[in-house]
Amino acid sequence: MGKAKNDILQGTLTLLVLRALEARGAMHGYALCGHIQTVSSDLLRVEEGSLYPALHRMEQEGWLKASWKVTESGRKAKFYAITPAGAAQLAAERANWQRLTRGVARVLRYS
């Protein structure tokens, strides 16, 4: 079971995806890529291919629910939506993240 290649988003991708889906409702993978890039003002770039293993894993964990729909361009696409379990996970990961950044910030400031 290979893990996604190392990239800057390792570990935080779940957080970003959950937050994006919470804010914007169901989205397909391509739209998620664009969304994260846009919202972060191009500071964060998702490696496109590594998004899909993460999405599928989150679906298996029960955090996401997937369904096939037809897009405006007339293609069939797999849309992901957040589940209640996903929302709980998001809250936990968000708290984690804040603790981590606070801690890192303090270390940077005071040591």
Binding site: M1, G2, A4, K5, H28, G29, Y30, C33, E47, E48, G49, S50, Y52, P53, L55, H56, R57, E59, Q60, E61, G62, S73, R75, K76, A77, K78
Partner: protein, 903 residues
Amino acid sequence: MSWWTRIRSAFEASRQDAELDDELAFHIAERTDELVAQGMTQSDARREAMRRFGNYTTQRETTRDMDIALGVETVVKNLRYGWRQLRLAPGFTAVAVLSLGMGIGANSAIFQLIDTIRLRSLPVRSPQELVAVDNAKGFSRSGWANGRNQLYTYAQFEQIRDRQKAFTGVLGFGTWRFNLSRGGESRFAEGLFVTANYFDLLGIAPFLGRSFTKDDDRKECPDAGTVVSYAFWQREFGGDPGALGRTVSLDGRLFPVVGVMPQGFGGLEPARRFDVALPLCADGLMEKDRKGRMHIRHAWWLTIIGRSKPGWSVERASAHMNDLSPGVFRESVPEVYRPDAVKKYLANKLQAVSAATGVSSLRGRYENPLWVLLAAAGLVLLIACANLANLLLARASAREREIAVRQAMGASRTRLIGQLLAESLLLAVLGGALGAVLARILSQALVAFLDGGQNQLLLGSAVDWRVFGFTALLAFATCLLFGLAPAIRATSSAPAWAMRGGRGSTGTGERHGMRRMLVVSQIALSLVLLVGALLFGRSLRNLMNTETGIRPDGVLVASIDAKLPQLPPERRRLIFEELEDRIKNEPGVVSAAVVWLSPFSGSGWNNSVAADGKDAEQGKKEVWMNRVGPGYFSTMGTAMVAGRDFTRHDDLTSRKVAIVNEEVAKKLYASANPVGRTFRKEGPAGKPDEVYEIVGLVKNTKYNGLREDFRPIAFFPMNQDPEPRAGLSYMVRARGPMDGVLASVRRKVAETNPDLLVEFRVLEVEARSSVLRERLMANLSGGFGLLGGLLSMLGLYGVMSYMVARRQSEIGVRMALGAGWRDILRLIVSEAGVLVAVGLVIGLAGSYALSRYAESMLFGLKPNDALTLVLACVALAATAIVATLIPARRALKLDPVTALREE
């Protein structure tokens, strides 16, 4: 979610792959479109889209793995890990698997036996409609009974058939063992005499040829044929379809085969399968007068089965039979009965019982013992489960620290529980597999044992999967329950606490309490088992040591049959005497004598007798009888108390004489020596009584089995038989090996007359098989008792070892403070002693309550035999001491310094 989806994913991989390809293709297509919109050419845009996506194949595989592998692969990993853990603890694994396997195996095998003789429905059309006519309580009959399940006479059958309104049809059948041989050593076939409607009423269509029709069952039986079973057809004719029309020799008479029955059908006796069936009227063909038992109103030989009409319950049919009784018996009174016998006969009542599972002579004898054995096997399984629970609990506590470390290092709780669970599951599977193997072996051994080497019993010895499934389920439940509970507990305790050592005086107390409870219940259960084993074992010993009045060792029984038609009856006496002389002169033969009914053969003959001078009606006693030749008593080792033995000159020309046993002297004459006095043997109705003079008195002997009390027996001389019978037995006392004597007797029989049929038995074996039931009980319950005791001692040993390990530091402190080995020993032994004592008290109460169910199966002792209870307690307590001393030794060897340092 997702357990199901994951497993489904594993099987629906291709559909999943297609969906995944669609999803990724959509991404590439959208990106390409966007790039084209920005001004790229189509092919450049696509290349750029792929580049941005990264390694397409790797990402696709990774995504796919997310769907499939996560669940299933973890399970496989857990199982593999569990297997490694079990292999690391071979002792634990062996004990757990063995105890489970034995429990499961014993239960399956015994339940299967019960199922065969009691519970399984017959393979016939609507078996639940079948009802057997049965004798109500207090049924009295006398006359001539032959075969198994011989309940009714033909006259009664006719009456019931014609009067009843409850059944759509009534069938009757009698059993008979036919001799297939045409001379020399006998070969037997299980035979049925059946009414012509037998197969039709049961709804069995022939596999080949035809079954019987009304034409087959006419008075004269003009051209009777035989319908054979599938197994017989395979065995005797090699499954040749041309067998129809060929003949079989049954007791020397030839019958053409008219039909073959389908494979599944073996008759109405579940444990015995018929080989050949003849129409009822063919019984007459076997007799000289061509009449047979259909015309004899005191010949009891038929079983009667009816098929209920719709709406007739067994209870209603039973009431109906009861109502019919007066008429049935009034019209079927045997002519030979005297008035008082007639009176008793007319008072008989009929009833009906369900025959959906068939009728079986084994049922009465073995049903209760088998239920008792099943209960014992159930107890063993309980002990095994308790043992397993104990082992799993001990293992969980031992691994507490390991689990805590792994948890602290980030192993998820579900994963840890999964691993522990996988281990329990593996144990259950291994135990179940072993159980299946043992069930098969044990069930074959049981059938062979009950059969007594005669190959007449055909119980299915294949494993019954329903039973096996049930017991295996129980084992699985135990494993999961006692695997899961400690796993959850172990993973929920704070790692920091467990890592400190977890050996303090707190925390594990509760779990240890549970283990102690398990040990107490194990000891209690095994005491019950042990008491049972001792009761049955001592009963058997009492039986084997009981005074039989004969010395069966070294006696060969050669049963000779001169019934083949080519042997004229008037030559029988000469042939028999010639054979007797030839056998006596063989080297290796000490003595030989003839007898009608060899002891322990199961046959019997009784009649009313009155001592001389007594009023005919008042002084009447039932006396058992036999006819013997000169030298019988010395051959059998029965002591002559007074008078003389018979000689060949006690024949039809001389005075009628008899030899009686001490029981007759006591019951009829109230005197020590009745030699010289006479008695009257009641003749049949219309014939005068016969008067005999007693010429000898012998010691009491058992008539038919070791279990019975001594019966009054009168012996008559062989040569005073007005009409010599076709069959008799030679009792041959041999010196040296039995085989040599057997071969020479066989040779002498053939030399005397090649048409004689001979069958050999060993008297000692016969005597032992008359207590087959008791031996079965003693052996199996003994095995179970041993097994249960062993398992509970393992449990005790485990708990005591754990206790020593847990209190290591305490013991260390005590030793450091100057406690001697005596104090330490007292500490440990008192803890074990409490467990054993509580277990024994509960076990004693249990034995007391349960042993009365075994009362009817005991011999020579009461169910609550004090000696037995004491013996069982002592045996358990003694082994308990051994199980305690091993861990105690370990505690005494403790070095206080090391023990304390570990704290």
